[in-house]
Amino acid sequence: MAAVTQDTAVSTGRITRTFIYLVLVLFALFYLLPLYVMGVNSLKPLNEITGGNMMALPSQWTLEPWRSAWSTAQIGVEPTGLKPYFLNSILMVVPAVAISTIIGALNGYVLTKWRFRGDTWVFGLMLFSCFIPFQIVLIPMAVVLGKLGLAGTVPGLILVHVVYGIGFTTLYFRNYYASFPTELVRAAMIDGAGFFRIFWRILLPVSGPIAVVSVIWQFTNIWNDFLFGVSFGGTSQPMTVALNNLVQSSTGVKEYNVHFAGAILAALPTLLVYIVAGRYFVRGLMAGSVKG
């Protein structure tokens, strides 16, 4: 593969370059627009939205919408704010990400370094499960969660997210371990190292980059999930479902500023993860897509 940072060979004239910069900046504004609208309007009193201009900066800055969205806004029937749902999401996402990533790493290790007859089929079946429309499993999942007594609980949601997440985590680790020299594993085997010892001492220490990809991917997907949350959340609904309930509530005055503050609260964890570690994620994904 050619170096990632190489310059392009195409030369362009001054007018073309101006045009290119113009288009790039216009698109940057397009992508930033909703974030600006949410940010600015979450810091205004409501009458400045209903009686003013959405693009204008607040003339009277206030944190009241944020306080309301976090702790007092009406979600469904309870005036609890988004706080309890935020906690639900945290309690759900941390174990689900950890478990699915660990399982994915072990699966990827087996599928590349301990190959057996039919392993491609096993992987293929697991891979296809990443791409099914989840509508096809909603009904039986509801039945099974009910039978297990996990319907409407955080452990139930963790189970669902682990089950439908291991396809992707296995994919990531498998592709990553595939390029790790198998000779090193062979050598360790000859030296008498066992299955877990090889994984622990040889594979795991080099797994940093792909673990980052897997964790970010799972964190974003699970935090942002709405379908499973709304179907199986019950009394332990995650943040996305609560935000939707807040925004769609048909009773009373529509508090746009509170809605925007709530939306930013729901976006904050994934945005933070993206800002802190996004570069590694893009790098990892790009490496994958070039290969694929």
Binding site: T5, Q6, D7, T8, A9, V10, S11, I20, L24, F27, A28, P34, L35, V37, M38, I49, N53, M54, M55, L106, V110, W114, T120, V122, L125, L127, F128, F131, I132, P133, Q135, I136, V137, L138, I139, P140, M141, Y164, G194, F195, N224, F226, T240, L243, N244, V247, Y256, H259, F260, G262, A263, A266, T270, L271, Y274, I275, G278, V282, M286, G292
Partner: protein
Amino acid sequence: MATEADFRTRLQDWLPKLVLAPSFAVTLLFVYGFILFTIVLSFTGSKMLPKFTWVGFENYEKLFALPAWNTAIVNIAIFATLYIVICTVIGLMLAIFLDQKIRGEGMLRPIYLYPMALSFIVTGTAWKWFLDPGIGLERIMHQWGWESFSFTWIKDGEMALYTIVIAAVWQTSGFVMAMFLAGLRGIDNETLKAAQIDGASNWQLYRRIVIPLLRPAFLSAFVILSHLAIKSYDLVIALTGGGPGRATEMPATFMYSYTFTRNQMGIGASSAVIMLMTIAAIMVPYLYAELKEKK
């Protein structure tokens, strides 16, 4: 002693499979078992709860006679086409432009990409109010002095679907850009230089050489986008709730409402089966080719 060593080597032989087995079993049960269950349900007269009274193809006949399902099919066809085409065009254009030794690339790239980190519910909320004629874009333009400006798509049964396209393109086009950019950076510069020496113009260079070389990126983008399009449930719920009326009904929203709120589980199951078959028709050949290649 000998038997113990024997046992240990045997265990070592079996250990990898034992480690993989739970994942495989879970996949078989929760994915393929559940698919089978839903397929069976789609041939039963289930209403509020699953029950196993065989009705043959009755649910499918009913399904395709329902105006709501036909609206959903037409909508997903329009939405998916526009979404895939526009995302690909914007993604390719931005990638090619960013690849021209642009100053500030490091700043622009994260701006294009960050929407992908957000939930569709957040995206939907932002666009729902921004496109609302009462407080959003239309009013902004009026206040800036463009009195005759009118933008009421989100309230208009004919046009509401296109607001979903706008929000969805906003969310994913940057991601498509990243895929194309990765493809562009993987192209060997010598090929391009040779073509330029032969007198090819920039336009010819891209049309004849670069874009054909990006075939794998096009394919990946198509697969990912069509997969996201058919799953589009959250965005519709957050942005339009399927309305106004049923104007923006999609298969995903149809399935949910028929199964869980209208107590027509049989029909809901049959719509889910149709969705699965559509996705499988796209995904299976792609995955098969990918796996065969890597073997």
